[in-house]
Point group: C2
Chain length 195, copies 2
């Protein structure tokens, strides 16, 4: 279980054995039920989690509209990264899409590890960069692609998402209405299998 967490971290940079042992000793397993909030808006995110089981949705209320920011799926991280690194209250809420088991490491523990182990700090920095580039890619996607192309991109990058997440959440994530998504899907259906 913990080894899967390690494997994910090491996709960024290697961690030496000693650092990992210490890291592992800080890990806590938490379980949540479907629709439960892992992090409510207004609270500071003090963890980085590994989604051993289940899927989550991160949303923000902007001008009264609920906007889906990101979906963290099984076997990936789950955190509100900005709140975590800056240790300021989150504007976003993380909720479970289904029952979840999450391995968590908290902020204080991680800071200790950063100070103590060069290899951990390197992983941390790489993750920050990764988070940054993800945002950038998303901006690019909005800049050069229309809704249909964004949907196709999502389909290509994250086909599992469509099965795991209700479509109206996907629509919000793509910045369109559920109706539009439905029509886009219909259009594409005709193209791929023109009957």
């Amino acid at each position: 279980m913990k080894n899967e967490f390690r494997a994910l971290l090491e996709r960024f940079a290697p961690i030496d054995e000693l650092a990992w042992q210490e890291f592992a000793s800080f890990i806590q397993l938490k379980t949540y039920q479907k629709d439960e909030m892992i992090l409510p808006a207004g609270k500071t995110c003090n963890f980085i989690g590994f989604l051993y089981k289940g899927n989550t949705r991160v949303y923000e209320i902007v001008e009264g509209i609920e906007v889906n920011r990101v979906f963290f799926l099984e076997k990936n991280f789950v955190t509100e990264y900005y709140s975590f690194i800056s240790q300021t209250p989150s504007k976003e809420t993380i909720v479970c899409l289904d029952d979840c088991q999450i391995l968590m490491i908290n902020y204080e523990a991680l800071q200790q590890l950063y100070a103590k182990h060069k290899s951990m700090e390197r992983v941390g920095r790489c993750i920050t960069e990764y988070m940054y580039i993800r945002q950038r890619n998303k901006v690019t996607n909005f800049l050069i692609n229309n809704p249909e192309e964004r949907y196709l991109y999502l389909l290509k990058e994250n086909p599992q998402l469509l099965e795991k997440v209700p479509h109206y959440h996907i629509a919000s994530f793509l910045g369109i209405t559920p109706q539009s998504l439905s029509r886009i899907r219909k259009r594409l259906e005709h193209v791929s299998s023109p009957k």
Copy 2:
């Protein structure tokens, strides 16, 4: 001149005198002419600059289309931050919109300073966070606002931009065509001053 650079940095976190002295000793002044490239795509960005004079544009060629990423204006930073922090080749190109004078500090110097001065490292981390949140805000802007609203947002946040940058660059930055921008401007004109 250098003090203005310092003031900008200290908007993120205070820098102690000793750290600043050392930082200042590394600063180099470089000058560029209008349309000159400060950083061509493919080269690794090894500097963070302070735009003492002039304005710059950062663009990327995506699927054959030139997409404007950001404009760095006088008295602000100029860098390709992802390339800088990860020390990997930049996908983006930085060009001068007019003649520029830039105070630059290079990567190696900065790393030295980070290792030596806690206050410098703190500033560095805060800047990374700032860059991250900027991208996030831009995503939000695309998610909840249509082109007209994005233009209005830009107008509110960065009114100088409209005077300093040709409109077709603004359009690309907003993710729309120059024609659309022109029509949006016309529409708004009628609203604000109905003759």
